[in-house]
Subunit: 274 residues, 2 copies
């Protein structure tokens, strides 16, 4: 008799052909953290390890039909990534509403690692209005945090996170890789979890180079851990640990950004054993 | 200094939201067999563990642009899965031509595990005319083998495989799970590798139940092993072994077909260790 499925994470995110980011990356991170990913593409992209050159939003009707077909699955967490236009954003909101009471991790993907803009001020506003309130945890980097709170021109991260919490998100995990905090030394990356009650910080040794898919890896690992029942601060810590390990064991393509290795704990194990 | 990428397998296949089959399944099988998958969706599908309800072929222009963006990657094998209409089939052929000398595994996906037809006689004909000659190895089940050789009404599998080889495929691995050979006992599954020189058979204990994604798992594992430089018979054997293990360690959803566990060698290892 086979065992039942591991905790199911429903992923609404873009597809990245390189496998560094997007739904492939999410599925790997979720499997490696003990979950099973079910994925509904919100967009296809044309990209390599340098940058994104095209984003093709999905048909929202296909997204909704896909969610309907999966409705008999025991979804235990939801992860939302790239929402590249208003119709797919609205479809994502409708899908999340179909699974009430399920923890939701929202990774606001506003810019590609290579620099391509993936959002607009109008879409950011719609994101705040429609999606934010469904999030148990939001995982912006410092750039994304600023984009989501444009009205707070001179605010610090804490003020911005408090603003997002006041608008509906239950927690905000601000990653500091892209833009170190002024008080950080160059060798350290600081990530900060803001909740209505408190703020908690973690510091990690800064890795050399830039990586493709680190944000997806973090948010998906976090969703898998929430799906398994971990409390938010623990899940945030373990997802950071997993991500740091995936990056430090990553791969160096001939050119472009480095790629995470989400099976670092077991690379080639099966291939070697034969 | 990070290591270079593992051998890259370029996957042209459909997306299955359940993760049992399609590009997610391929990526998992490729990672577990020591490769790195880069994936170009040929179609999106609406499905669950019962059956496929919709197939939405991709934009062939997006497929071609995606391949172009990946052209600086060291592609070491190609895996082709679902080609659901003529334009995507033609695009797949053009992409394969861009990577000459690379081993190509072709999994003819003509019917879903739940029974939905995914091809037509006309599309089968186009597949034979345009795609077959690019295949170092074709991995049909017995139903698909018959569909691809409709002119051989009373032929046996060997005659049909020889016909496909005469039309351009270098080898045909016929899987016998779906439709046991007349001489098989009910407890055994026989897979047969036909090459221009010989035929070789493997027998595996038949597993109870039906599985979602076993064909994708086999073809993708085979592609990863060819990408790593394994000889065809060895790669076929190891891919069968990997697939049998993935199925026997699989999961039982609340209803529908069982799902493979492609990380059976390491399930939950990371999650448990923390």
């Amino acid at each position: 008799m086979l065992p039942p499925l591991p905790p199911v994470v429903l992923v609404l995110a873009g597809h990245d052909p390189t496998g560094g980011a997007g739904i492939i990356a999410d599925s790997e991170a979720i499997a490696a953290n003990g979950g099973w990913a079910m994925t509904i593409p919100t967009a296809l992209t044309v990209q390599n390890c340098h940058d994104v050159s095209r984003v093709i939003p999905a048909d929202p009707g296909v997204m909704l039909a896909s969610a309907e077909a999966l409705f008999d699955m025991p979804v235990a967490a939801i992860k939302i990534g790239l929402l590249a236009d208003a119709p797919t954003l609205i479809a994502a909101e409708r899908i999340v509403r179909r699974f009430p009471g399920v923890p939701v991790v929202i990774d606001p993907v506003l810019k590609a690692g290579g620099g391509a803009e993936l959002s607009t001020p109008e879409l950011c506003r719609l994101f705040v209005d429609k999606i934010l309130a469904h999030g148990d945890i939001l995982t912006p980097n410092r750039y994304e945090l600023a984009q989501l709170t444009p009205e707070l021109a001179d605010a610090d991260d804490t003020q911005r996170a408090v603003e997002l919490i006041s608008q509906g998100s239950q927690g905000v995990l601000v990653t500091g890789t892209d833009d170190p905090l002024p008080q950080s030394d160059a060798q350290t990356v600081t990530h900060t979890l803001h909740t209505p009650e408190s703020a908690r910080q973690w510091q990690w040794p800064r890795l050399p180079g830039t990586y493709h898919g680190s944000g997806c890896t973090l948010a998906a690992a976090l969703a898998a851990r929430l799906a398994a029942g971990e409390a938010l601060p623990t899940a945030c810590e373990q997802a950071q640990h997993f991500t740091w390990q995936s990056l430090s064991h990553g791969y160096r393509p001939a050119n472009g950004q480095y790629l995470p290795n989400r099976f670092f704990h077991d690379s080639y194990a099966y291939a070697k054993q034969l």
